[in-house]
């Protein structure tokens, strides 16, 4: 099993609940897609080519300040439960973890994890530079990703062409290679049934949305990922600016919706949220979807000041730790049956919430 204590912050500093609007916007991520000049792109590259790409990055690491003290995890050498753990921590994509149905994990698939940034190696593109921040912080995340990009690009030659910009495996990323996304919690808009209008509006603004785990994932627990859809023809700053304006607007709409809910259905909402908290505190079995929905309720209660604990940080941690591989790890096993997982999950949640009550008096 991976010892996450060896990784900087266990790779989850972005959960700490700091930053702007942390009860609504959980985290902000910026990733830059880059390929190394002279090699076929990952899916067409031979094993040896992918290993050389990894070799180039390894050689560059000591010279790149943002990667100093970073660790290289050979994803291709990890067992499935460990790869699942990394995916559940949002550190690697399903594709890199080899969890994508028919695609096995590729030789040379790796994750470089440093303090502020990480790099997925041999994902769809050779290098996916990533920066994650707690709360709403697109500029902070972009600054960190760009610093890494500037330095790394001086030691590793990127595939680049003047007109099209950075060349990526999929033309949907060509140009800036930038995908900025925020993980946002919108229970108010879901409960007031305003959400479909808001989501439809996103598409007109050149943005798109996905579920908790990115591409192809379902919306669960009222969590959405909003990100830019286009990458070419606008500068990075323009793309971030567009995303920021829209996200701020969505946050405002969410706050209005919460206000309306409290005004028009105060006691119903209050009862629903306390029940969610009560269930999480005392249930003996919780499925993943149940846990996500109740956690969504508790997060809403917290931001409405109906509850004073748990902390946002505890809720964020539970979001990660309620997933299958984390629950199994907590139970000391590689995998669990659904029934056993529900029991272990409920125990983990009870313990975490009890500890939080303890620490908050």
């Amino acid at each position: 099993m991976i010892d996450f204590s060896l990784l900087p912050d266990g790779g989850t500093r972005w959960l700490d609940g700091s930053g702007e609007h942390p009860e609504v916007v959980l985290s902000t991520r910026v990733r830059l897609a880059r390929n190394v000049e002279g090699f076929a792109f990952t899916s067409r590259a031979r094993d040896g080519e992918r290993l050389r790409v990894l070799g180039q990055l390894r050689d560059a690491m000591p010279k790149v300040a943002s990667l100093k003290g970073g660790v290289i995890l050979r994803v291709d050498e990890l067992a499935t439960p460990d790869r699942q753990l990394l995916h559940e921590r949002h550190l690697v994509s399903r594709e890199l973890a080899g969890l994508d149905g028919t695609l096995a994990v590729r030789t040379g698939a790796a994750l470089v994890l440093a303090d502020e940034v990480s790099v997925m190696v041999n994902e769809e593109d050779h290098l996916r530079l990533q920066a994650m921040r707690s709360g709403f912080d697109p500029l902070g995340a972009f600054g960190a990703a760009t610093a890494l990009d500037d330095e790394l690009g001086r030691h590793v030659p990127y595939a680049w062409q003047g007109e099209f910009g950075f060349l990526t495996a999929c033309p949907t990323n060509t140009g800036t290679g930038l995908r900025a996304s925020v993980l946002i919690h919108l229970p108010g808009l879901v409960l007031t049934k305003e959400i479909s209008k808001v989501l439809a509006g996103l598409q007109q603004m050149g943005l798109t949305y996905r579920g908790l785990y990115g591409e192809g994932s379902e919306v669960v627990g009222n969590y959405f990922q909003i990100s830019n859809q286009t990458t070419l023809g606008k500068s990075e700053v323009e793309l971030l600016d567009q995303l920021s304006r829209v996200v701020r607007h969505v946050v405002e709409r969410e706050e209005e919706a919460r206000h309306v809910l409290l005004r028009d259905a105060g006691y119903i909402i209050e009862d629903k949220l306390w029940r969610a908290y009560g269930t999480l505190r005392y249930a003996r079995s919780l499925t993943f979807d149940e846990a996500m929905n109740y956690l969504s309720g508790v997060r809403l209660a917290l931001s409405l000041k109906l509850l004073s604990s748990p902390s946002v940080y505890t809720l964020n941690k539970l979001l990660i730790h309620c997933q299958a591989a984390h629950v199994a790890q907590y139970d000391g096993r590689a995998t669990l049956s659904d029934g056993d997982a529900s029991v272990a999950r409920a125990r983990f949640v009870r313990d975490a919430l009890a500890a939080d009550v303890g620490s908050h008096g």
């Binding site: 390929n35 000049e37 090699f39 076929a40 792109f41 899916s43 067409r44 050389r52 070799g55 180039q56 050689d59 560059a60 769809e124 760009t146 990009d149 690009g153 001086r154 030691h155 590793v156 030659p157 990127y158 595939a159 680049w160 062409q161 003047g162 007109e163 099209f164 910009g165 950075f166 060349l167 495996a169 999929c170 033309p171 949907t172 060509t174 140009g175 800036t176 930038l178 286009t230 990458t231 070419l232 023809g233 606008k234 500068s235 990075e236």
Partner: protein, 162 residues
């Protein structure tokens, strides 16, 4: 065969379209073809190209260029259409006309206006690739238990790295 457009006159112009691998044929009379801007002679078109002709030409281009092959990674445009992924950076030149059209449709633009990039200086790269090669040789020497050679390679590596 009657014209697909006016359904009156005889069709004399036969256009073959290839859309997503499906071949469809359009049959037009001389007048309708001319109205739509399809020229039946080799002379330069007198009327502006209509969207029909553009579509046909485009699709024909896509159809025939399915076989186009990137000389670097050997991927064909058909491979790209099947997987949605390009094989390498050179594919952008190999399939430029189709990609330009695709980028325009996806992004509303084909011109990168973001951060600019200057590749690293050649001597830096040269050094990096020497390091890679030496490291590879070193690994092989150790595997084959040629320890004297390995020691020499290790010293060389140290020199290059400094």
């Amino acid at each position: 065969m009657v014209c697909d457009s006016c359904r009156e006159r005889d069709a004399v112009v036969h256009l073959t379209q290839v859309v997503d691998g499906t071949v469809t044929q359009v049959h037009l009379c001389e007048k309708c073809a001319a109205d739509k801007g399809v020229e039946t002679t080799v002379a330069a078109p007198k009327t502006p190209l209509t969207s029909l002709l553009q579509t046909v030409q485009q699709q024909l281009a896509v159809g025939s260029s399915d076989q186009a092959r990137c000389t670097f990674c050997q991927a064909t445009y058909k491979d790209f259409r099947a997987s949605g992924r390009l094989g390498c950076a050179r594919c952008y030149s190999a399939f430029e006309p189709q990609l330009r059209d695709l980028l325009q449709r996806v992004h509303g633009s084909t011109r990168h206006t973001g951060r600019q990039y200057a590749p690293p200086a050649p001597d830096e790269l040269q050094r990096a690739s020497t390091v890679l090669e030496l490291r590879e040789q070193l690994r092989r020497a150790i595997e084959l238990e040629h320890f004297e050679q390995a020691a020499r390679l290790r010293d060389q590596l140290k020199e290059v790295a400094e």
